[in-house]
Symmetry: C2
Subunit: 295 residues, 2 copies
């Protein structure tokens, strides 16, 4: 039995796994992003709740929304979870419960589980991207997370695709993220619909009903995504790229133009075979992925 936790700025999700079967799930709103005591207590309480449903827990895995130093098992500086900054969260949990605990960037948990059990399970090299408030990425080769030399590979949301283009939250201009993340799509939607946009959900319905402006919106987003995908393929040529996150509700309305633009932009004929797939494992992917972590 293994516990997996996915600690995000909005929710904490948790699963209790027996072999590969999910025995129990929890989902609670994150009580604080900034107060260490409140957030740590909530995390411990989530684990305690799942722990009480099993006779013996072998391991705990925790995915965290933000950068971590995997080797040192230390949270770095997560913009949406600053309460955890600098914390050796794995050790803290391990000391509390006496159960081996591993922490990892949540995007890596997502890519790992999609590569082992999800859309990428039949492939050797899987690049994963999450489209939501931000744009995250990671790579799994031969079912192992590839972290890069300094633990920072996969930050594809911040590759420059349009020098001097749209302002990014990171401070630079023309990164991929401000064109394909939630706020970025709202900005594009505002240009197309000439009004303030609160939620993107309405466009999914509009696009399905054939609304030309909604379709155009997702085409624009898809084209930018396609440029980013081509840059990834030109650089590292994974066998498959799995895309998840809330934005993927729009499905084919984004993916079809993205694939078309990607193929136009990839240099090598053979690399155009790189598959683009929608993620399969849903909202608890990150928590399940956390149960698959190994040191």
């Amino acid at each position: 039995m293994i516990i997996g936790l996915d600690v995000g700025g909005t929710n904490i999700k948790g699963v209790l796994i027996n072999g590969r079967k999910v025995i129990a799930k929890i989902k609670v709103a994150t009580k604080s992003r900034t107060d260490k005591k409140i957030l740590v207590n909530q995390i411990l309480s989530c684990i305690d709740g799942l722990k009480n449903k099993a006779s013996k827990i072998e391991k705990i895995g925790i995915g965290i929304a933000g950068p971590i130093d995997f080797k040192k098992q230390t949270v770095l500086n997560p913009p949406n979870l600053i309460a955890l900054r600098g914390l050796k969260l794995g050790k803290l949990v391990q000391d509390k419960f006496g159960i081996k605990t591993i922490i990892e960037h949540d995007v890596n948990c997502f890519v790992l589980v999609e590569a082992i059990l999800g859309a990428g399970k039949n492939y050797k090299s899987v690049f994963g991207i999450t489209l939501g408030t931000g744009v995250g990425g990671g790579m799994v080769i031969d079912k192992k997370i590839y972290r890069g030399a300094h633990g920072s590979s996969g930050e594809v949301g911040h590759m420059t695709i349009e020098k001097n283009g749209r302002q990014c939250k990171c401070g630079n201009k023309g990164c991929l993220e401000p064109y394909i993340c939630d706020t970025g799509i709202k900005q594009t939607a505002k240009q197309i619909f000439k009004k303030q946009i609160d939620s993107l959900r309405i466009f999914d319905d509009l696009a399905k009903k054939g609304d030309k402006r909604a379709i155009k919106l997702y085409e624009t987003v898809g084209k930018y995504l396609g440029i980013g995908l081509a840059n990834i393929v030109d650089t590292i040529n994974p066998e498959v790229i799995v895309i998840g996150g809330g934005i993927m509700r729009a499905g084919k309305f984004i993916l079809n133009p993205a694939k078309k633009e990607m193929k136009k932009n990839i240099l090598s004929q053979s690399a155009k075979k790189t598959k683009i797939l929608k993620s399969k494992l849903g909202k608890f992917a990150g928590a399940i992925g956390a149960t698959l972590l190994t040191l």
Copy 2:
């Protein structure tokens, strides 16, 4: 004793290696890029010349300027060596001499030798870039070439960095290559110096003498290179990036602004530690690299 050959559109270079010592070198002008018979005969004759200097040849490695299918050991469609298109060159050489022969993309030979014996020898993951007529790239992880799923990783010259920017030879706009390759730099130089540019060599001297326009030229080139380097680091975070090719004659005049721009553009603090180094092994790097190939 191993023979290594580097077959380019301009020259064929060859080495005979004993252990890690170069016993003999040859360099001849490529007789034809388009006539299969002429070019293949020249390649065989180069090998024969090196072979006659050794009592027993254990292996032959051949680097080719252009894409190959490594698994099938077949040359694909090299724009500057179309004579070799579709050829199983390794098998042809092996049948002729009865010596095990391996072929590989020349850029991979360059990165391999720089990773094993050159600027990258103390590092686990080495990304290599060559700046010349075109912009090539490749990656070596744990001293082994990483080819990607379809043998096409490392095509970083064709990542989009300025959507709708400068026209690239590949047909797309805004790739990295047209800003930092030989003809691209000449184009930028023409804008700065307001005249036709035949060779870039003059600017190396001018920059060393402190000429402001030459320094500005290389700063412009370096900034684009820096954006490309940051995209590579954000995506795959290698420990070191080794840069070679003729353009690197300009050395620090390109590398210093490139490093500055790279650091500005990389998202993660830790990944800013990625080292940028000039290649060490000179003009025979590719040929020596070809001797290090393994199937």
